[in-house]
């Protein structure tokens, strides 16, 4: 029976995705490592500052894991939250697990402690790239209702592999922010179909921004995570030149006022107009060669 990944909490996702009972948490809620800044603002804290970190086993392999809790401040990265992620990644450099899996659900920097969150996200970014450079795959799984935005959207694209569900979103600025800045004509945040065509899992898969697309199902994420364990993708000058060429070509594919459907057509997607109605399995068979190339 299928179980929605999106509807699970961070800890439920960990419990269901990894080998049963294998998760061992570092700095668990019982240690009450909380944000002093939220306390200063008189706001409730979370005893894990919105992220669970530790080691687990995945299909028998020892891995490190972090899961952001979207229900706490939208998964926003504050000082402690960010430092837990950095600590996990530095520990991975030292202990060399088979992979690091990041179950990302975040609006980006936590605005209540924005300066520390911004620096924190950039520290996470550098730490991810250190782990990646050490040949330990960093795999980002995106399937929460809050999506993966802002600085965490950048962090996700610094990882070796990205897995998304069709209902997940990966982007920089939220549609509400863009609408507030440039008007509803620029981006109608209430047009859900438009929002998903622009930032949703299907679009990211077709254009190569994520490597694998799965159903909103915990078991499907587990299968994709296992498949990504061998997914180390070293950053070399040649690899970055390929990435640059792909992104440059895509930049010239879309004019200012054009929609995702036109981009899909130009990428070579058959029946592009039907994409929003396709199920995940059908969509996989429609991925164009250029989307596959950009995924690496």
């Amino acid at each position: 029976m299928s179980l929605s990944f999106a509807e699970c909490s961070a800890r439920e996702r960990i419990a269901l995705l990894f080998d049963e009972g294998s998760f061992h948490e570092w700095l668990p809620p019982s240690e009450r490592v909380t944000s002093p800044h939220l306390a200063q603002l008189g706001l409730p804290a979370a005893f894990d500052d919105g992220v669970a970190i530790g080691r687990a086993r995945l299909d028998g392999h020892g891995v490190f894991v972090a899961a952001q809790e979207g229900a706490f401040m939208g998964g926003g990265v504050g000082e402690v939250h960010g430092a837990k992620l950095v600590g996990l990644l530095r520990r991975a450099l030292r202990d060399r697990p088979r992979a690091v899996l990041l179950l990302a659900e975040s609006g980006g920097v936590r605005l209540h402690e924005a300066n520390a969150g911004l620096i924190g996200v950039s520290e996470v970014m550098r730490a991810v790239l250190d782990v990646r450079a050490a040949g330990i795959p960093v795999v980002v799984l995106i399937g929460g209702a809050n999506g993966c935005f802002g600085g965490m959207g950048i962090v996700a694209r610094c990882a070796d592999r990205v897995v998304m569900s069709d209902i997940a979103r990966l982007a920089m600025s939220g549609p509400e922010v863009i609408e507030a800045s440039h008007g509803v004509e620029e981006f109608d945040s209430r047009d859900r179909a438009l929002v998903w065509r622009t930032t949703g899992g299907k679009h990211r898969y077709l254009s190569g921004d994520c490597d694998a697309l799965v159903e909103d199902d915990v078991a499907a994420f587990r299968t994709a995570a296992i498949a990504a364990l061998n997914g180390s993708r070293p950053l070399t000058l040649a690899a970055l030149e390929r990435e640059h060429a792909g992104l440059t070509q895509r930049l010239h594919d879309v004019a200012d006022d054009e929609d995702a459907v036109l981009l899909w057509q130009r990428l070579g997607v058959r029946e592009a107009a039907q994409v929003p109605d396709m199920d995940v399995e059908t969509l996989r068979s429609h991925r164009p060669a250029r989307g596959t190339q950009l995924a690496g």
Partner: protein
């Protein structure tokens, strides 16, 4: 500070930095050392095109000038807030720029960020904050959001936030707050050439910002949390 004046003070006439719209690019010679210079001006929003233009300069430096130092001149209002940029994966283009800078570091290029005017949010994460070290001019502004905007988002009064920001650098914009938190290594006052000289000689290639933030008392928890994770049973 205007970028042409900045370039003049740093390099005299020994540079060929030019602006292409909001995009700055060129090279300079500093005390016998070749430096690649790139960045932005006019508080540019960083969209896909500008991120790729900057990444191109880094990649060319890697290929043609192995080991050359790279100076990032930062003046940005943050990421471009456009639907088209989101469609094109602006987060990926910015990550690509960050990855190019990161590879430069790993291949022995010293990468220095300098906020000479304004640095915000997403435009800062993949420039100054991914460099070996980031510096700022005294008049520069660094922020995620101003206190009035933060008051709207957090539903906490401006007065309260202003009061709290006097003792906690996390809450308010400002170069000195970023210095206290370790995000900016130091402010270049007086002779800018001396600032650059010291930055080229002494910037760390590992990430010391959490440690610096703790030592300076502006970000007291990050380093200790990292150490606790490393030591956890």
């Amino acid at each position: 500070m205007d970028w042409t004046l900045l370039a003049q003070q740093l390099f005299g006439s020994a540079h060929n930095i030019t602006a292409h719209g909001d995009f700055l690019e060129g090279s300079a010679e500093f005390e016998g050392q070749a430096i690649t210079v790139l960045g932005s001006t006019h508080h540019a929003p960083i969209g896909v095109a500008l991120a790729l233009a900057q990444a191109r300069v880094v990649l060319d430096t890697l290929a043609r000038h192995p080991g050359a130092a790279i100076l990032l001149l930062i003046d940005t209002q943050g990421q471009q807030l456009r639907r088209r940029d989101e469609l094109l994966g602006i987060n990926r283009a910015m990550a690509h720029l960050g990855c190019c800078i990161d590879l430069a570091r790993r291949r022995g290029h010293r990468v220095i960020g300098l906020v000479y005017d304004q640095a915000l949010s997403g435009g800062f994460i993949t420039s100054g904050l991914i460099a070996d070290a980031c510096y700022a001019l005294p008049d520069a502004e660094i922020r995620v959001m101003r206190i009035p905007a933060m008051a709207r988002v957090t539903k906490i009064s401006e007065q309260r936030l202003t009061e709290l920001s006097k003792t906690n650098p996390v809450f308010a914009p400002g170069v000195q707050n970023y210095v206290a938190m370790g995000g900016v290594r130091s402010v270049w006052t007086g002779d800018l050439r001396q600032g650059l000289r010291e930055a080229l000689a002494a910037s760390p290639s590992t990430d010391t910002r959490a440690h610096d933030g703790a030592a300076r008392g502006g970000r007291t928890l990050a380093e200790s949390v990292v150490q606790r994770v490393l030591a956890a049973a």
